[in-house]
Amino acid sequence: MRMKDYKSMEDYALICECLKKDDEAFAELMARYKSLAYSIVIRMVNNKDDADDLAQEIFVKVYINLDKYHPDFKFSTWLMRIATNHVIDFRRKKKYDTTSIEGMLTEPEHNETPEAVAIVNERNKQLKDALDSLPDMYKMPIVLYHQQGMSYQDISDVLGEPLSKVKNRIFRGRKLLKDYLTDSKVGVAYEL
C-alpha cells in the first residue's frame, strides 16, 4: 500500500483525510500546531500542569469538531479561536489565581551564569505579573499580537471582534502594561 506523504499536504487536505478517520493525518496536523496552541495557553495560565491539560483538551475539541471547519478561514485561525475560548472559559470557571509562577523558571543553559539566568527570570516574571494584571479582554489580544506575532486581522478573526475593537484593546492594553510597570518601579524605588 502506498504511504501517504502527510508532510507535503496542505492543512485542508490533512483535515479531509482526518474526516476519513485517518489518525496519522491528525497527528501531522497536531505536530504543526501544537506549539502555537501550547504557547497561547501557557501565557494565559501560569501553571504548566494546567496548561498541559488545557492544550490537550483543545486538540481533543479540534478532533471532535473537524467536520465543522470551514476552509474560508486558515486552520491556525480556527484552532486559535477554539484555544482562546477554551482558556477564557477555564479562567472564568476557576476564577484563576494568576500569581503562581511555579515551574516557570528558566533552566540555565550550559554557557549561562546563574546571574544571567536570574536576570532573565526576573524580567520574565515582570512581564508575566504585568500581563496577569490585565483583564482577559486586553490580555488576550496583547498576547496574540506581541507574543504570538499575529496580525490585527488574524486576531479579529480569532476573537470574532471587529478590527477597530481589536486595535483599541491592544492600544489600551499597552497603556495599562506601561502604567503597571511604571508604578511597580516607582514602588520599588519608594521601598528602597
Binding site: 497527528a27 497536531m30 501557557i42 492544550a55 474560508d72
Partner: protein, 191 residues
C-alpha cells in the same frame, strides 16, 4: 508637533508601521519634551520585555497523550461538500449574471427572438402577449430619445451664451482650492 499626538505615534512605532517622517517628528519631539520622553521610554521597556520573552514549546510526549485520548473517541463526522457563505453567494451571483446576460441579448435581438418563438405553434399564445410589449418598448425608447434630444438642444443654446461666465466661475473655484491647500500644508508643517 503637540504632545497629544505622541501616543498615536508611539503606538505606530510599537506596531512597526511608523513612517520615516513620523519617526523623525517623534524623535524631535521627545528630545525636547521630558514628559513624552519618559512616556516613550516606558513603552519601549514594555516592548523590550516582549522581545525578551521566550517561546514556549509543547512538552515531550504531548502528541502521544493527545492521540491516546482521541483513540477512544468515535466522532460522527457529517461529510459532504460544505456550503459556505462564499459558495452560496458565488453561485447566486453566477446564476444572476447568466440570466442578466440572456435578458440583455433577448432585448437587443428581440425581433429575431420573437420570430424564432413564433415558428413554434405551441408558443403562439406567449408570442401574442410579447408583441404588444415589444411595440410599447419601442415607443418608450423613441419618446426618451426625443426627450434627450430636446434637452441637448436647450443646453447647447444656454451653454453658448454662458460659456464665459461658467469658465470664470470655475477658474475662481480652482484658485480658491489651491490657496486653501497651500495654507493647510503650511499649517501641517508648522505643527
Amino acid at each position: 508637533m503637540s504632545c497629544n499626538k505622541t501616543e498615536d505615534l508611539i503606538m505606530r512605532y510599537m506596531d512597526g508601521s511608523i513612517s520615516e517622517m513620523e519617526a523623525v517628528k517623534l524623535n524631535e519631539h521627545i528630545s525636547e519634551c521630558e514628559l513624552c520622553r519618559e512616556e516613550f521610554q516606558a513603552y519601549d521597556e514594555v516592548m523590550a520585555l516582549f522581545l525578551e520573552s521566550e517561546l514556549e514549546e509543547a512538552p515531550p510526549e504531548f502528541e502521544e497523550r493527545v492521540m491516546a485520548r482521541i483513540a477512544c473517541l468515535t466522532p460522527n463526522y457529517v461529510r459532504g461538500p460544505k456550503w459556505t457563505l462564499n459558495n452560496v453567494s458565488g453561485t447566486l451571483w453566477g446564476i444572476y449574471c447568466i440570466l442578466f446576460g440572456f435578458g440583455v441579448m433577448a432585448v437587443m435581438y428581440r425581433d429575431a427572438v420573437l420570430e424564432f418563438i413564433s415558428k413554434n405553434p405551441s408558443a403562439a399564445s406567449v408570442v401574442s402577449v410579447l408583441y404588444p410589449i415589444r411595440d410599447r418598448f419601442v415607443q418608450l425608447t423613441s419618446e426618451f430619445t426625443q426627450m434627450f434630444e430636446q434637452l441637448a438642444v436647450t443646453f447647447n443654446t444656454y451653454a453658448a451664451q454662458s460659456r464665459v461666465f461658467v469658465l470664470t466661475v470655475l477658474g475662481i473655484i480652482i484658485a480658491m482650492q489651491v490657496v486653501i491647500y497651500v495654507k493647510n500644508k503650511d499649517k501641517a508643517e508648522a505643527e
